[in-house]
């Protein structure tokens, strides 16, 4: 794919790579839930490292789970880059047929997605990163309502992330983690209640 010409190992620099365990738990729960909602092969959260202006894979569920976390690429490129800089969600399909992704992400994971949904992790007037869903169930690949659902989920996930980040300095770590997980669990319950059965377990 053209979006990430050089995936390189994380260096640990920048706020995006200093996620504590509460953030890790939260983000892993977000991608697990997103993958389930859309019956996807994979889901990932990429956070914007403002120090280096890169997007960093912070949590991955499904394909690439073992190899992608910590990888980074220049922000402002490709589909994820567009979502980051514009704050607009989008769906792209037919990527495999067009040879998208093949150059870099495929090299890193051995996996070439055909479709991608992406929504901004937007909180107030900031975009913290991007929530991606790779190869969702067929019905999600061309549907505006499914894109709206992802955008809503991403917004709530961003709010939960912001709560954890803001309060990390103020509360004991266990309290922060519990609060974040409560938020995500409540959100997952709400979302999965409205999801058709076939959309929740394919992929």
């Amino acid at each position: 794919m053209t979006q990430s010409p050089g995936l390189v190992p994380a260096t640990g620099a920048g706020t995006a790579t200093r996620a504590g365990s509460a953030e890790h738990d939260l983000l892993q729960s977000v991608v697990d839930t997103a993958r389930a909602i859309f019956g996807a092969a994979a889901s990932s959260v990429l956070l914007h490292d403002r120090d280096t202006d890169e997007l960093v894979f912070q949590a991955v569920a499904g394909e690439g789970e073992e190899s992608l976390v910590g990888s980074r690429f220049p922000a402002g490129r490709g589909l994820a880059g567009w979502v980051l800089v514009s704050g607009e969600p989008m769906i792209a399909d037919d990527l495999r047929e067009q040879g998208m992704f093949a150059k870099d992400v495929a090299k890193a994971t051995g996996y070439v997605p055909d479709a991608l949904m992406a929504a901004p992790l937007a909180h107030r007037d900031r975009v913290l990163g991007v929530l991606e869903v790779l190869d969702p169930a067929q019905q999600s690949r061309s549907s505006l309502s499914e894109l709206d659902l992802l955008a809503l989920f991403a917004r709530q996930a961003a709010a939960a992330l912001a709560v954890i980040t803001d309060r990390r300095q103020e509360e004991p770590p266990s309290a922060v983690r519990a609060r974040g997980l409560e938020l995500v669990a409540a959100l997952r319950d709400v979302l999965l209640e409205g999801v058709p059965a076939q959309g929740a377990n394919e992929g």
């Binding site: 053209t2 979006q3 914007h48 202006d53 220049p74 922000a75 402002g76 490129r77 490709g78 589909l79 880059g81 567009w82 980051l84 800089v85 514009s86 704050g87 607009e88 969600p89 989008m90 769906i91 792209a92 399909d93 037919d94 990527l95 067009q98 040879g99 998208m100 937007a122 107030r124 007037d125 900031r126 975009v127 690949r141 061309s142 549907s143 505006l144 309502s145 894109l147 709206d148 955008a151 809503l152 917004r155």
Partner: protein, 286 residues
């Protein structure tokens, strides 16, 4: 000083007569409006303010000018002529190329220009967006496609002033709306034409929203668009409906070059598939 035309702008009519104000206008197309009969946009200058445009893409065709926001020696942002930029350099994201391709499809004869305000080096920079948009409005392009918005309140008043400047100087600013109730700008301003996506398969269908803020809905779901590397993808998003309406504006201006932005909005309103002309004197649905 009380001159009526300070800076070329008319503030009062103290020193001008009605004859001094004579002007030629175009009427909106005859009703019933048939958008398919409008021109191909020949002679109309459309500027895509976005991530840049990949020159030479078969779905985009000729690009008359490519510009980008860049910092000057003192760090101040300005717009420079980048020259034609090929695959890999013209558009790091693909989105601007997609928008340009849609404008080209709808208005095949228009003149396309690009100013890059987003992409590598300009992630989340509202200043770059403002710089590029201000430049486009100052250039007097007939149509400016802005499939972008910002949620940052600090840019609100500057954007509003720019949108008003465009409206009064004859530049039709077409801006993407959000699908969900997100407060962002400039699409919320009445001086621009705001566009969202409908869910229909008809690639030529556009609708007027009787309950704005989003004024028009156009094809943006599961549409085939140009992307980087000379390729195409199928995609869904509000930002792909906007260049459809920009292309329609160009088609209108091709046959009615003196139309003002408010006339263009009027013509689009009358041409929308869901708008029918009622009997004179009737109100609402009667």
């Amino acid at each position: 000083m009380t001159t009526g035309t300070a800076g070329g702008l008319t503030w009062s009519l103290r020193d001008r007569s009605p004859e001094d104000l004579a002007m030629l206008a175009d009427t909106v197309p005859d009703l019933p409006a048939d958008p398919s009969a409008w021109s191909g946009g020949g002679g109309v200058r459309v500027c895509v303010v976005d991530t840049g445009v990949e020159c030479g893409h078969p779905s985009v065709g000729s690009v008359q000018g490519s510009y980008e926001v860049a910092p000057g020696p003192d760090g101040t942002l300005g717009v420079v002529d980048s020259g034609p930029l090929p695959d890999g350099a013209g558009d790091a994201c693909g989105h601007g190329t997609a928008c340009a391709g849609i404008v080209r499809r709808v208005a095949p004869d228009c003149e396309l220009y690009s100013v890059r305000v987003l992409g590598e080096g300009f992630t989340g920079s509202g200043e770059a967006l403002l710089t590029g948009l201000r430049w486009a409005v100052d250039q007097g392009f007939d149509v400016v496609n802005l499939s972008l918005s910002t949620t940052r309140p600090k840019f609100l008043e500057t954007l509003r002033a720019l949108a008003d400047q465009a409206f009064f100087t004859g530049t039709t600013l077409v801006a993407s709306a959000h699908n969900t109730p997100v407060e962002s700008f400039p699409w919320r301003f009445s001086s621009v034409i705001s566009v969202g996506t409908h869910r229909e398969d008809d690639s030529g269908l556009f609708l007027y929203n009787p309950a704005p803020p989003v004024e028009f809905f156009a094809p943006g779901q599961n549409v085939q668009v140009a992307w980087t590397g000379g390729k195409t993808i199928r995609t869904t998003g509000n930002s792909f409906a906007t260049p459809f309406i920009s292309g329609m504006c160009a088609r209108l201006l091709g046959t009615h070059p003196k139309l003002t932005p408010f006339q263009i909005k009027h013509a689009l309103y009358l041409s929308a598939a869901n708008v029918r002309i009622g009997e004179p004197g009737t109100r609402g649905e009667a």
